[in-house]
Symmetry: C2
Subunit: 222 residues, 2 copies
């Protein structure tokens, strides 16, 4: 996929100076990743392809751990009010994949800022850079889920006034419009919430501009 990148609090400089190899691995994993899609279960658009968060998460997990990234970094007991674990980490870089809704982004930001300022390490992984992976607004997706343009707006507001001070690189997963890309179409056991895979297919997927009102693209299996 293509990446839309926004940096906050000197993230670009920190990456150049200290985290070039970690970033290169993340970039490789995300740019090599095909578009993951599944059938919508939403009334009115049932059966049409939408962004598949579960499939995308699974793919990122496989590829990052293959490159030596640790997963499910345990949060120390005294900070578990901020959650159980952090998605991924390597060196002094942590990475959160956030396809859920905006309160989870705020939680990710607040706990990362706490770990950064308190000098907490997560089972050996320091917190000097936070990479957040989100999807672009362009994708048809489950309702009310976070997209990168919204995340960019929110992190900007918090970083501008110093509520968050740690270096953050926000990545939005996007593609060119129009284009035809390699995709992974996954059929799950139940249309909604299920993570049980029934079938994986590898069709090409055509991406076209959608109705102007929605600003979402139209996806077609070809």
């Amino acid at each position: 996929m293509q990446l839309a990148i926004s940096d906050f609090n000197g993230a670009a400089e920190a990456i150049d100076a200290q985290f070039a190899s970690e970033w290169e691995e993340v970039q490789e994993v995300l740019t090599d990743m095909p578009l993951h899609i599944k059938a919508s279960d939403q009334a009115g658009i049932q059966g049409t392809p939408i962004f598949d968060a579960v499939g995308t998460n699974g793919s990122i997990h496989q590829e990052l751990t293959d490159r030596g990234w640790r997963d499910h970094l345990p949060i120390p007991a005294e900070y578990q009010f901020l959650g159980k674990d952090v998605d991924f980490g390597k060196g002094d870089v942590i990475l959160e994949v956030q396809f859920s809704n905006y309160p989870f982004l705020l939680n990710n930001l607040m706990r990362s800022e706490l770990f950064y300022k308190a000098g907490v390490d997560l089972d050996g992984i320091g917190v000097q850079l936070l990479v957040i992976v989100t999807k672009g607004k362009m994708w048809p997706a489950s309702q009310s889920t976070l997209y990168s343009e919204q995340a960019e707006h929110q992190i900007s507001a918090l970083a501008e006034v110093g509520v968050v001070e740690l270096p953050i690189r926000l990545v939005g997963l996007i593609e060119q419009v129009p284009s035809t890309v390699q995709s992974v179409w996954t059929t799950y056991h139940a249309a909604r919430y299920s993570r049980t895979v029934v079938e994986k297919e590898l069709p090409a997927c055509q991406i076209d501009a959608g109705a102007r009102a929605t600003s979402r693209v139209r996806l077609t299996r070809v």
Copy 2:
């Protein structure tokens, strides 16, 4: 009720120097307030008295607005990703009543910190002090709801390392154990979630130490 107070980031000094009159009003409202209780709908303790968040909220709302506090302070459009409005405000003091669960406390903290650092005013109300009203852990209450000891722990962790820097006074609503206090017993139309009042009674309520395992008190209408 009695108040358990915890101050962060110089809140006591800020109150002495600038917000003594606002705090006196809050203190008067909360100490004059009777204990609000209702019947539990939880299996196993159905019908027994528990802390009534809706009744407490209603009482605080009535008394604060009677003293010229503004309610539902609108959050400016560009920050509405942090919510629609702030509970109460007067002068440069905002007050949030938080009987819900911990993610809402984090949201209250993060938006207050943003308004403080960005110098945002909420329809004329500045943000120089945040008062958070919670209930003590002692009260039997709906499951997974926030209590002040938990809030104290969480705000401490965030304030110690400077993730939140604005002055905060945390208030826990408590009572002596054992004691007998004036209470308001409200019967709602539906046992759970309803805000429609069927009946309000004013019984005395006896507060006794409960089973040690729970650390919650036992309440009895007398």
